[in-house]
């Protein structure tokens, strides 16, 4: 990627991420009392990950079919409570096998 595009974006990204951690850690020292504000902060990680994963996961490989196979595998393994690493490996393996199959068939 061209550094003229990359470096300014990297700088903004790193500085924002640092300030989000640094300012509250250094300046604020009191507890958040509001139940609703606390809940909002608790919910954000999950809604972010959901929106980031779907539908982007379907376009993360060479074909939607192999990506769909990986997605279904991920959902089944995650639903059964497997660890992050197991789910990740299972997802990759299922995607890889279906990609190979597609290469052979097409």
């Amino acid at each position: 990627m061209d550094n003229k595009v990359f470096l300014p974006l990297l700088l903004v990204m790193a500085v924002t991420t640092y300030l989000i951690r640094m300012i509250p850690f250094t300046v604020f020292r009191r507890k958040i009392r509001s139940r609703r504000v606390k809940a909002f902060f608790d919910y954000i990680p999950y809604t972010v990950l959901s929106a980031m994963t779907f539908p982007a996961i379907l376009y993360s490989t060479d074909s939607v079919i192999s990506a769909a196979a990986g997605t279904v595998t991920a959902i089944i393994l995650a639903y059964r409570g497997k660890s992050l690493l197991t789910v990740a490996i299972g997802t990759c393996v299922a995607t890889f096998l279906v990609s190979l199959l597609l290469l052979l068939l097409l």
Binding site: M22, T26, K31, K38
Partner: protein
């Protein structure tokens, strides 16, 4: 609490980070970044979801404001963790120490640090060494394999990080009705942003994620039952 003790406590986190950042490295390179650009992102940010969104914005040549807002929203939880960690710190956590250690506040480091009665500068810094090493080394190895392995293999590995995201979200959805509802809302909105041609053409992916996530979380705040204890992030 000594540096040594922290260093040991960081081993498990470091190993976990090695594998997550490996997927990130692969994903970054397959999005058009060079290996050292991927490495630079990991060294300066130390966060998974924020970096994946960041790479998405970079590969779409997104704007600086879009980048700042998306990182702000996605990483907002660190502010809450920083505040809560701040209440456990001892006298060794001076202002310069805070300026340094705040860079290491991630979900897992926060989790382990908070399980201690008190957190000092030496412990917190020791705890962070192996996770940072694991995160950068994993990114480096992932980016390198992304360049060396055949296309069919790297394309299959790039999906891994999304698999991990599913593995983070689904178990929590099983436990909390509110969180499962808002995750479905977030996904449905994200699908609408992707497939409605007008929205897809005018709203970049970074902003779409922000809009979906904030709307869904706000809905959650209003529909959550009075007695539900919110899950830890």
């Amino acid at each position: 609490m000594t540096f040594r003790q922290g260093f040991k406590d960081g081993l498990a986190i470091g190993l976990g980070y090695l594998s997550v950042s490996f997927s990130f490295g692969i994903m970054a390179v397959s999005s058009g970044l060079t290996w050292w650009q991927a490495l630079l992102i990991s060294i300066t940010n130390l966060t998974s979801a924020g970096q994946v969104a960041g790479v998405g914005i970079m590969s779409a040549s997104g704007g600086l404001i879009e980048m700042a807002i998306s990182q702000l929203i996605i990483n907002m939880r660190y502010s809450l963790m920083a505040i809560s960690l701040s209440q456990k710190t001892d006298k060794t956590m001076t202002v310069p120490a805070r300026l340094f250690d705040s860079y290491f506040i991630t979900d897992e480091i926060f989790g382990v640090a908070c399980s201690q009665d008190q957190v000092g500068f030496r412990y917190m810094t020791g705890l962070s060494v192996l996770p940072v090493l694991g995160w950068t080394l994993g990114t480096f190895l992932g980016a390198l394999s992304g360049n060396l392995l055949p296309q069919v293999v790297t394309a299959s590995l790039a999906i891994g990080i999304y698999g991990m995201f599913i593995a983070i979200v689904l178990p929590v959805c099983k436990k909390s009705r509110t969180i499962s509802i808002i995750c479905v809302i977030s996904v449905v909105m994200s699908v609408i942003f992707r497939y409605v041609p007008f929205l897809h053409a005018h709203v970049s992916s970074g902003f779409a994620i922000i809009i979906c996530a904030v709307t869904a979380a706000l809905i959650g705040v209003f529909i959550m039952p009075q007695d539900e204890e919110a899950q830890d992030g």
